[in-house]
């Protein structure tokens, strides 16, 4: 770990000011991703601004929905009685990720800002455009089975690793940020970005901006939902493909469909055309297969035995199964790993 200055902030304004006061500043809350990256020398901050003493850990009612303070831990959100009863999609997604120890430390804001788990991003001996812009992408033509199949560029095929953010995308959460130029709201769909020519930028946050809260809208999809996560082992592993599905039904017809995929893109992946296609259709396998086919038609895979072509069929089946689970009101269990 490199040597760094340390600032303990008492207010958001103090944190924003301290961040601007040095080169290479980083905010630190739970630290579960940042400290790990610092141990690998991937992150070498000049200054750490400790924001854990800011009063941002509350979960509050707001406009018929909930406001999650940026410092509310992943565990605090997942086990909050209101989140469990009204936003079980979010609770289940959070509990599908990491371990109990990590969820006890990791913050809501930090979960949004966690970096990719691409092996080459972590390995400072290999080129990586996200870590070192312009150095090249080792994953393209390399071992790419965990990598993206949607929204990739010639410079980066990394995925965003979060489970929580996939649920937030389906719920259309809004991220509240504060920065040197004041406060603003960013819809979750615009918070993370695709790699394009600048894969070093994971999000559309401006330098020095800090996440202060995440707002959950009143529409909670609390009756017909699922978070289905497929991975190499049954717990404590990142998603190869995950599906957050929320449905509103009118009898056996789909009134509204929300669908976000994890493990397949540089951001939680939504396809509005597929969601629109489901609207007014019977909530059955045929409709769900049509939506899944439309989504995976856009997939672009990495070839070879170490590639990720398998993710296309995996995603197609996961989408159908996830929508079936949501329609039937039988969400995927976190502890019973059998897929119904």
């Amino acid at each position: 770990m490199n040597r760094f200055e340390y600032v303990r902030a008492g207010t958001v304004a103090e944190a924003v000011q301290a961040f601007a006061g040095a080169e290479g500043s980083r905010f630190i809350a739970g630290g579960t991703n940042l400290i790990d990256l610092m141990k690998y020398d991937v992150e070498r901050p000049g200054r750490l601004v400790d924001i854990t003493r800011l009063p941002l850990d509350r979960i509050e009612e707001r406009d018929g929905g909930l406001r999650l303070g940026a410092l509310a831990t992943n565990a605090a959100v997942a086990y909050d009685a209101r989140v469990q009863s009204r936003y079980p999609l979010l609770a289940n997604a959070i509990l599908a990720g990491a371990s109990a120890q990590l969820r006890n430390a990791a913050s809501t804001g930090g979960n949004l800002l966690q970096r990719t788990r691409c092996y080459y991003f972590y390995d400072t001996a290999t080129p990586c455009n996200k870590r070192e812009p312009g150095s090249g992408c080792s994953a393209i033509g390399g071992i790419a089975r965990i990598h993206a199949i949607f929204g990739t560029s010639a410079h980066c095929i990394a995925t965003h690793p979060s489970d929580m953010c996939v649920a937030l995308a389906a719920l259309e959460a809004v991220v509240q940020v504060s920065g040197p130029k004041g406060e603003r709201s960013i819809p979750i769909a615009d918070f993370h970005r695709l790699p394009g020519n600048t894969p070093e930028q994971d999000t559309n946050l401006k330098p020095g901006e800090i996440v202060v809260a995440v707002d959950l809208p009143a529409r909670d999809f609390g009756s017909h939902y699922t978070y289905l996560k497929l991975r190499d082992r049954l717990s404590y592993a990142f998603a190869l493909v995950s599906v957050a599905a929320g449905l509103e039904l009118d009898g056996d017809q789909v009134k509204t469909a929300r669908l976000a995929l994890g493990g397949v893109a540089h951001k939680p992946w939504r396809n509005r055309k597929a969601e629109a296609l489901l609207q007014g259709k019977p909530a059955n396998r045929e409709s769900f297969q049509a939506a899944a086919d439309l989504i995976v038609a856009e997939a672009k895979t990495q070839g070879g035995p170490q590639g990720n072509a398998f993710k296309v069929e995996l995603a197609r089946r996961a989408i159908v199964r996830g929508l079936e689970q949501a329609a039937a009101g039988t969400p995927q269990s976190i502890s019973d790993k059998r897929i119904q």
Partner: protein, 174 residues
């Protein structure tokens, strides 16, 4: 030096913090990059807490911070100024039955043969106590899921779950 809100502390400065470790208050001077794990092992000779992967993947370094289980390898000591830390050395004290007796979870690990080489055991024990404190896991499946952050390469998992179930059925822990 003592820390003042909003004032940067230069990289080569030791920062004064105070922690209550296993019931004893300790006033310490730490560099900002010292992890809680390294503070315990290298500075305080509390070597019960183990360094496995040092990256939050194995759980060998699990301790309780204010009663909550966390990976001490991914925790900067300076950020926990004022906290109460419990390590495996302090579990017996938590049980409140005198310093010579073990915590119920320690008794249960022995009773159920819940370890082989023992390297992961301090983390498994602290994690188990954290799990019982949290109160979310009830079934065996839920215990297994909630313990997935603790790796045991000897494969004592079945007996670890037995031990935890045993203590939970007695309403034990704390």
């Amino acid at each position: 030096m003592l820390i003042e809100s909003g004032s940067p502390v230069a990289a080569d400065t030791r920062i004064g913090i105070s922690l209550t470790i296993n019931g004893h208050r300790r006033d310490l001077q730490v560099a900002p990059w010292t992890t809680l794990l390294d503070l315990l092992r290298e500075h305080l000779d509390l070597t019960g807490t183990k360094k496995g992967c040092d990256h939050g993947q194995c759980g060998a370094c699990t301790v309780l911070v204010n009663g909550t289980r966390v990976n001490s390898c991914l925790t900067l000591a300076v950020m926990k100024d004022g906290a109460e830390i419990t390590t495996v050395e302090g579990l017996a004290g938590l049980a409140g039955t005198g310093s010579n007796s073990l915590h119920p979870i320690q008794e249960a690990f022995i009773e159920h043969d819940a370890f082989q080489c023992g390297y992961c055991t301090p983390g498994q024990l602290c994690s188990s106590v954290g799990l019982i404190n949290e109160g979310h896991a009830r079934s065996r499946d839920e215990i297994r899921e909630a313990m997935s952050g603790n790796i045991c390469r000897c494969g004592a998992y079945t007996n670890i779950v037995d031990a935890i179930e045993d203590v939970m059925s007695q309403g034990g822990g704390r």
